[in-house]
Amino acid sequence: MIEALGTLNQLKREGVIKDYAIGGGYAVNYYLEPILTYDLDIFILVTTDKEYSALYQYFRSRKYRIENVYIIIGGMPVQFLPSFISPLIEETIRRAKRIRVKSTPSKVLTVEYLIATLLMAFRPKDKMVIPHLLEQADMRLLNEILGRFSDEKTPLDKRLGRILESLQC
């Protein structure tokens, strides 16, 4: 995992990506107790398809193993989620929290943006961790984020409402 972060920092230095942040299960692990996580979800700041392809080209030319959507870095399957798929992703990266893992600098989604991205995915495993993350969230900020990024197709605010209702049962 730490080797993967070192490689991501290298990608940033070489200008292959503008920025990145840890999301998904490892970001959940940052805030909560450790849970089994098989892959590393990395949100990357890229603006075009061409930049995204260049990233895969970078790894291909250096003989990294690529399996389905995963690039294997130091034994860790890494999935890259480009910012152009949603303005929410772009904002999550820009507002991510700077951290250090041992001596390696990195960025992790803030808890409010992490919850917003989990509400986007809204799989059973996401629904299970959201109530625990809410304990650490600034609800005013979270509601403000969800208000801006909710739409008919992805009603983030309504999804959160359903989770909060289920907690009252």
Binding site: M1, E33, T37, E67, M76, I99
Partner: protein, 59 residues
């Protein structure tokens, strides 16, 4: 944990169980991220990967 072994009343058992579990979760939650990563990597090494052939960092 020891206390739980001696409780015979069901309601009391779950009350103590919940308190102890919450304390353990809080303790784990407060570990440094690097330590949490180590724990997750041990879990990954002990479980078959859902990705099939994909290796863990310890393989």
């Amino acid at each position: 944990m020891k206390k739980l072994l001696w409780i015979r009343d069901s309601e009391e058992f779950w009350k103590v169980f919940s308190v102890e579990r919450e304390a353990r979760r809080k303790q784990l939650r407060n570990l440094p991220f690097a330590k949490k990563i180590e724990i997750v990597e041990k879990m990954r090494a002990a479980q078959p990967s859902p990705h099939g052939r994909l290796p863990t960092s310890e393989s």
